[in-house]
Symmetry: C2
Subunit: 141 residues, 2 copies
């Protein structure tokens, strides 16, 4: 749409610790990575792998509602991004272990904060929704 020139925001250059300026461009790498991380299953997988190794079926049992296909796809993406390590044991029946890499572990700490926040404020959000929905019904007065 526009020309390809743009100034790298502070969080890209690392020269500024005030991260107010996001790059909101669609093709920004940060947005692509965020989209990946924020998909339906990735956060759950990363959370479950906190400090332990898990097998495929184990993960599948823990994550309610995930299809075998989507678990496979999610694990492959996370592996490709270097966030988890996949270990195949050449035995029969096959056995595959998944664990976080160092990179994945550092992400885990950040996402955990997000979950803790959600847990801690779900009551407030729930109340806000109720109040909002009731306002909708009342006359404008």
């Amino acid at each position: 749409m526009e020309d390809g020139t743009w100034k790298a925001p502070s969080y890209c250059t690392g020269t500024d610790d005030d991260v107010r300026q996001w790059d909101t461009r669609e093709d920004c790498e940060v947005r692509q990575i965020l989209d990946r991380i924020a998909d339906k299953w990735s956060l759950l997988v990363i959370a479950l792998l906190d400090r332990r190794t898990m097998r495929f079926t184990e993960l599948r049992k823990e994550i309610d509602g995930v299809s075998q296909r989507m678990l496979t796809v999610t694990l492959r993406q996370l592996e490709r991004d270097g966030l988890i390590k996949r270990t195949v044991y050449p035995v029969s029946p096959p056995r595959v272990d998944y664990e976080l890499t160092a990179l994945g572990n550092s992400l885990q700490e950040v996402t955990k904060a997000l979950v803790v926040w959600t847990e801690r404020h779900q009551q407030e959000i729930s109340e806000a929704r109720t109040e909002y929905d009731q306002r909708e019904i009342l006359p404008v007065s």
Copy 2:
């Protein structure tokens, strides 16, 4: 699918500070809220509203690629969740201001950490992807 009985995980009762056990059930409130926050635009809106008030068009200009419809939908959801405050000025032409609530501000701090992480590690992720893709091509040997 199953019976309605389940034990509340530690992060729901708040009796345990080790948040390893997620509730991974589909109808878990935490997962619903995470799904909401992690949609395509919410994080960007919350980020942009950091410590400032913005108008609709202003937001739309900043967020590359957002349609007017999706920006409206996103803002309504965030307002319903009590994360942002919407102020309508009865003037002509109309003017609507958006700003974070206290709740939204606390979330902002958490999500900022996620963005900072992404920024700081995008290089590593990019390299991991390249390496992974090259492994795919090589013979198993």
